[in-house]
Structure formats: structure tokens, C-alpha cells
Symmetry: C2
Subunit: 273 residues, 2 copies
DNA sequence: CAGTGAATGTGATTTTTTTAACATTTCTGC
DNA sequence: GCAGAAATGTTAAAAAAATCACATTCACTG
């Protein structure tokens, strides 16, 4: 006889709002460890390993503080938004990602085997970093954690990370002597990003700690390649780091490309799509 | 009139054995680009994006030469280590992970709010790094990429990464002046890992480039905490970096713990489980 | 040690994904 | 334009996963 007058159900308690219990945390710890080096684990196997039912694991995973997630019956580590900017790509986001990817395809064509590249921070150049496996004998210099992670996955590419204090906002490092370190390296080709590109005022970014490395690279690299998408065109950001004429090549498209094409005697060479 | 005398069905032709057609390859190219930096895409979104039915994409994906794969309704890159199925997760491995996690729980109890910690490379201390969110005002110094990634996810922890040339084998960086940088920092508590711990010969690791930072830390840190599991006990590895008496605290258990407990006048304090 | 609430298990139900079979459209060479 | 093949769409059935409702177990407290 259904006399339970105030039953609210487990959903409310244990669902997406709740926190995991002690043993739940322990289980998660185990599974997380099992997946440290990536990979996925079928729910049934995981349940057998932990000695609990699938349902229990489902409940663990659905708690708000879980670091695991379940997709199609497989447990995977919940994506760190840090270096997984596009987790669950909707059609909208895809557009932006596709644009960046196509910019990077063009940028990739500038690269020769054996180059020593600099890759700037931000998300624009991330697809470039992931595609470098197609060239031989490359060395990549960067001060961005997300770029370093992408490059670290490529077996044939040497990686040099300029360390220092980590800045979450830009996912990059800030160091006193970064400029000096950059000057000590022989950078062949530098891929530079910008949060703002203005026809008169030139290149700017959000964070002041990015200025020193950017300028050091502009100063020392043999070839400087600016890559930016339309959303940055005609924008001013707090920290200026250079002029349009400080770069040798510009990779962009659409609005920015046609505006740039109209500038007479533009110094950088223009690559558009 | 069903006179088709030799109809074998599509399954045989288009299934796992077949190759993709021209447009299929184009579609895949597009989707692959969208997923360059990892992540996943729901089949329905992908279908909308490509302007075809879900079924068509399913057929693309199931062709032998596809670089995409489908898990639980989501498209992912087939080579993405994040989604690689982990087939053989033996109770053995699981046990190792569990041991490391429990060692790290003990290590965590050594930490006070406001500490400046050093965390060594390897997998042993990885669970420690992920748990640091429980303390306030911490600063973490490391030269390991995996540790840096774990710490970068924690909002309240300052991270200082000692950069340089990346070494895949140890997921850490090698730099000329790393020792100098470490000496310039005020490290409060250093968590040190070792690939080999020998009762007489002391502490060793696999890679020579780890020796300089480890020794610099041992030399300068206020408190040195060695963490290792049983599999390292009584082992000699190529590169020696210190003696047992160079550390202040040892966190371990089982075989190693009882052997150490038998050593008279052992200098480091022992924490076991 | 009964009683309570949290944690977990079980099986039915609903939803989603996968597969299969066949219809329809598009392409290609003549 | 037409035949035939290739590519894609549509629908139904099967399989798997996710959710739900409630039963059971466990760990405590008084």
C-alpha cells in the first residue's frame, strides 16, 4: 500500500546535484587511476573490477563532483576543459573549430621539414600543433600548456616548453627570463596569435604577461606568421605587442582578408582561403 | 518480380571490409578537422553538419579505412588515446593503482596550508597532485608534464613548471639551469619518487636527466619526503641520485616498510600503512 | 539489538543506439 | 535519356544503455 506520503525518490538526492559518498570516491579513485594514461573502460568490466553493480557506478558517475563520465556504456575521464576545448561539439561550435582548423591547414603549408617553430598560446593554433606529425624533424618551442600537451603526443616532434608561473586565463606560463630564453633559441618560423588585430593600431592581446615572449619572438624569429580568424579583426585588446608590419605572413580569411587586401603597400604577405 | 539471382546485400560490400567512397572521404576529412584537438561529436549533429543522414555517416565510419570511430552515439577520432578501449585492466594493475593512491593519501597528511611543494615526476605522485585541492594556498613546483596537468586543473593551487626539452620517457622536462632555478625557489616540502630503492645503495632512477633536479631539491628543500611502492624496493636503476639518509620521511608499506623498520638507527622517519 | 538512514542491488520500463532490409536518389558511360 | 551501379535514405526490428521504483543490505546510534 503506497502510504509513503513524502517520498521524493533517490533522483533528487543522488543525482546530478548530490555529492559522492566515501566509498564512491574510493571507487572513482581506482578507476581514475586505471585510466590515467587515457582509454576507456566498459561499464560491465569496471563494475566487476570494483565488485559492485553497474547501477552503483552509474550513480557514482552522475554525481556532480565526479571526474569520470559515461559515454555509450564506456567510462572515460571527464574532459578537462583546459586542453579539450571542444568536448561536446554542437553544430555552432563546430563552425568556429572548422574555421580555425582550416586556417591551420594553410599555416601548415608554410612549414618545412626540420624547422624550429614557435607556437603561440590560445586556441587558434591548437589544430596546427596536433597536425605537425605530418612533417619530419620538427622542433616546437612554446610557452602554452595546451600547445605543449598537443605536441607531447607526437612522437617525432621535439618539444621545448618555456616554463614559469602558470596562468590559468591563457593556459600559458609567465617567467622572468622568458625573453632571454627565446633569444637564445634559433627559431625558424614563428606562429603568432592575437586577440585583437586592428588595421592601424596593429596587434594586441588580453594578458600583459604574453607581451614579453611575443615581442622576443617577433624580434628574433627568421619568419613571423600571424594567424587569426575574423572574430579578432578590427579589435583592440588591453596589451599591444606589435604592428602589422612586424610580421612577414598573415593567414586569415573573409572580412579581415578583404580589408587587408585593400591596404596599399601592405608589408606582410597575405595568405587567405 | 524477385529475379535477382545473386544478390549478396550491402552488408558484405559496404561493411567493415569495404573502402569509403570519394564523398565519404570528404565528409570524414571535415569531421576529422572538427575533432583535431580531441573531443567528441554527437552523430545527429555530425549528420546535420554534413547534410546527410545518420545512416550514411555510420556507413562511412564502419568502413575499414575510417579514421573515426563511433562510441555510444558519439564520433571520436579512432587514434584518440582518450577513448581507446582499455581491454586488459587486470586486477594486477588495479591493485598497483590502488596502492599508489593510498600512499598518496598518507603523503597528503604531511602537507599544511600555504606550503610550497615540489612534486617529482613519474606516476607514483600523480594521485597526490590531483588531491591538493583540499589544502589552501599551496604552490606546486614540478618539472613533470603529467603533474603540471593535474595541478593546472586545481583553481586554488599556484603552479610553477620548470621547463626545457621534453622527455617522453619520463613525461618531464630537462633543462640546463633547472638546478639553479630550484635553488632560487623556497621549497618547503619536497615529494620525491624513485624507480629503485635499495637498503644499502639508496635511491636511483631510470633517466639521467632526472638526477640534477632531484639532487637540487634534496639539497635545498626544508623537508624531503620519499614515496615509493613495493615494486621499487631492493631495486637498482641506472642513475643514482641520493642515499636513504638524504630524506626526512619515507612513505611506503608492506615488504619495504618492514625491511626498513628493521634497520637500526634509520635516519628518515617512517610512515607506513 | 531494534531502528534509522545511507548505500547498494534487482528487475521492469523507457530511451537510445545499432543493425538489417529494402526503397529511393544520384552518378556514369554510352 | 537510359541502364546499371553506386550512394544515400527510410523504416522496422533487435540490442544495448539509461532510468526508474522499490527491495535489500549495511553501518551506525541510542
Amino acid at each position: 500500500m503506497c502510504l509513503r506520503y513524502k517520498w521524493t525518490g533517490w533522483s533528487e538526492l543522488g543525482g546530478e546535484n548530490g555529492l559522492m559518498n566515501r566509498r564512491g570516491v574510493e571507487r572513482q579513485e581506482r578507476l581514475l587511476q586505471a585510466l590515467v594514461s587515457g582509454g576507456s573502460l566498459h561499464l560491465a568490466d569496471a563494475a566487476k573490477l570494483c565488485g559492485v553493480s553497474e547501477m552503483t557506478l552509474r550513480r557514482d558517475v552522475s554525481s556532480r563532483d565526479s571526474l569520470l563520465s559515461l559515454m555509450g556504456g564506456y567510462l572515460v575521464r571527464r574532459d578537462d576543459p583546459h586542453y579539450m576545448p571542444t568536448y561536446d561539439l554542437s553544430a555552432q561550435q563546430m563552425r568556429g573549430a572548422e574555421i580555425k582548423a582550416s586556417l591551420c591547414r594553410h599555416a601548415l603549408s608554410c612549414i618545412d621539414d626540420g624547422d624550429t617553430l614557435f607556437i603561440d598560446c590560445g586556441t587558434t593554433l591548437l589544430p596546427l600543433a596536433s597536425e605537425l606529425g605530418r612533417r619530419q624533424g620538427l622542433t616546437v618551442v612554446t610557452y602554452a600548456l595546451n600547445v605543449a600537451n598537443a605536441v607531447s603526443a607526437l612522437d617525432d616532434v621535439r618539444l621545448i616548453l618555456l616554463g614559469g608561473r602558470y596562468r590559468r586565463v591563457s593556459q600559458s606560463f609567465e617567467g622572468d627570463d622568458m625573453a632571454a630564453q627565446i633569444r637564445a633559441l634559433g627559431i625558424n618560423r614563428a606562429f603568432i596569435s592575437a586577440a585583437g588585430v586592428h588595421p592601424q593600431r596593429g596587434l594586441s592581446c588580453f594578458h600583459f604577461h604574453e607581451v614579453a615572449p611575443k615581442q622576443a619572438v617577433i624580434e628574433t624569429a627568421a619568419q613571423r606568421i600571424l594567424v587569426f580568424d575574423d572574430s579578432k579583426w578590427d579589435c583592440l585588446r588591453p596589451a599591444f605587442f606589435g604592428a602589422l608590419s612586424d610580421v612577414d605572413i598573415i593567414v586569415t580569411h573573409d572580412r579581415a582578408a578583404s580589408a587587408l587586401a585593400d591596404i596599399p603597400d601592405l608589408i606582410p604577405r597575405l595568405i587567405t582561403m
